[in-house]
């Protein structure tokens, strides 16, 4: 009884802290060593022998399949254990070398204000309510979609990434002879254009609306960001996933994030957004996750509590 009450209290705490984001996410124990981030992955990658991937009929590497998330927790920089939603984890930032995002002074102040206003009962909070992580309203962005994992489909002219989480998808034109829209048109997921550099799929994303955070604790970029993602199979079951973020409005230099994506069912990573948790013969299927449809009370509650809608950061004049 006592155990089940404790479990109930912990479950309730998770629900209250991050009602939408917590769905499908494991709970984390105190005292575990930090989870693997960029440093661990780059060290492992350096030990891998050269790999010649299986290929599609057009000769391109066959990237199809269900790929687990890029991170189990959702914090980009080094973090200590905070609570059951936020375990100790190594930074995903591989450049700059220190693992910290190279914020301009105004932007670091904005990030700290985001974090202090989360009202999650965490150390350093002001008690004020500022914003919730925008992801709790069922939106996604590039590159944060990858944190949940995805099912990748591939044709000669498109690569699609399909998340079970919130039924989010991306359709990336490959080698399309078309320019990005002007900056008048922005999107939560940005405007993607893919091409192959040897065996590496390179996706350039612009026209980002800047209304999404990079993680759940207030790290952010702006609508001036350009994101370049690089996907390369380095073994049968691992994709080296590198993200370069150029944002001269927010950062002092370009940022690189480094992850490995593990094929679903072949490693310890959760299937995350690719599905998982479905029973028996359905284990490789992604079943419906209708995020917004069940989120109405959450939206009303956080509105009443005084949180503000995050409209994107603006650099002071």
């Amino acid at each position: 009884m006592r155990d089940s009450l404790t479990a109930l209290a912990a479950a309730l705490a998770v629900v209250l802290a991050t009602p939408a984001a917590a769905a499908g996410q494991g709970m984390f124990e105190v005292g575990n060593p930090p989870g693997p981030g960029a440093k661990s992955w780059l060290a492992e990658r350096a030990t891998l022998p050269p790999y010649d991937p299986a290929r599609m009929s057009d000769g391109r590497p066959d990237l199809r399949g269900r790929w687990g998330g890029s991170s189990s927790g959702d914090v980009i920089e080094d973090t200590e254990y905070v609570d059951v939603t936020t375990p100790a984890w190594e930074s995903h930032v591989s450049n700059p070398a220190g693992g910290k995002l190279p914020y301009q002074p105004w932007a670091l102040a904005a990030r700290d204000a985001h974090r202090a206003g989360l009202a999650r009962g965490w150390p350093g909070e002001t008690g004020d309510r500022l914003h919730l992580d925008p992801q709790t309203f069922c939106v996604k962005s590039a590159p944060r979609y990858a944190q949940r994992g995805f099912d990748l489909a591939q044709t000669p002219d498109h690569v699609a990434m399909m998340l079970n989480w919130g039924h989010v998808h991306r359709s990336i034109p490959i080698a399309a002879d078309s320019a990005h829209p002007t900056s008048a048109a922005t999107f939560w997921m940005g405007s993607p254009r893919g091409h192959w550099e040897g065996d590496t799929l390179v996706v350039e994303v612009t026209n980002i609306n800047g209304k999404m955070w990079l993680d759940s604790v207030g790290n952010f970029y702006s609508d001036n960001a350009r994101v370049v993602e690089r996907f390369r199979l380095v073994s049968a079951n691992q994709i080296d996933y590198e993200v370069r973020i150029e944002d001269p409005t927010v950062f002092t230099e370009p940022v690189t994030l480094s992850y490995d994506l593990q094929r679903d069912g072949t490693g310890p990573r959760l299937g995350g957004g690719a599905g998982g948790g479905t029973p028996g013969p359905y284990a490789s299927e992604s079943w419906e996750h209708a995020c917004h449809e069940g989120n109405t009370h959450h939206v009303q509650e956080v509105h009443v509590l005084g949180f503000k809608w995050y409209k994107g950061a603006v650099r002071p004049e």
Partner: protein
Amino acid sequence: MEGRKFRQLMFALAVVVASAVPAAGQTVYTPARTQDGQPDLQGIWQVVNTAAWNIEDHNASLGVPAGRAVVDGDGTIPYQPWALEQRNENYANRATLDPENSCFTSGVPRITYMPYPFQIIQQPDKVNILYEYNHSLRHIYMNGNPHPEGPINWWMGDSRGTWEGDTLVVDVVHFTDQTWFDRAGNFHGEGLHVVERYTPTGANHMLYEATIEDAAVFTRPWNMSMTLYRRMDPTPELLEYECYAYMIEENWPN
């Protein structure tokens, strides 16, 4: 010279004969195959009709183009009497009751004829449909699994596909009663059973048919049919319509 003209004539005649409309039920067009050997339905598609507003015959009104029914037969839905009353009440209160106005996932078949494009991408074990509206996503599984055991209430139902020749046939069950067929209040219950048929009729056209069954609401099963058009823009792409994000932002003065 004369012989050459004769051969040209015979060739033209052969083309005409070959492309003549065959008997009902036969497929004229043979689509290319995907790498996995399936009929290739891939690409970005959209309807050109007014079914999003009303799947029955309807007048024009402010902001609504007039349109012909996509319902087969006499163009009317065979509602049970109580359900016809319910539909009329839905119509009268559509501004608040239409699930689209809450940005909810549209359900099947409504998502097909929303005024947004969608993309079909095939994998060996399933056909995926990526919709621009609310980035809705369907996986039509063709892996041999039957529908999972219910009761299950999914906004988009559970889709299982088979090939009948070059036609993709999709059996969809496990719906909610929270979705409508259009903006005019046409509706169903959670016992809805939809069978969709996607038949390529040319390189850039598909026939879309849906059989609708719900014994609690209708007096008999009924069908709708319409043409899907391939988007022919030089470089078509899916953009994004994040309905609920726009709605929350508008309704949330900071």
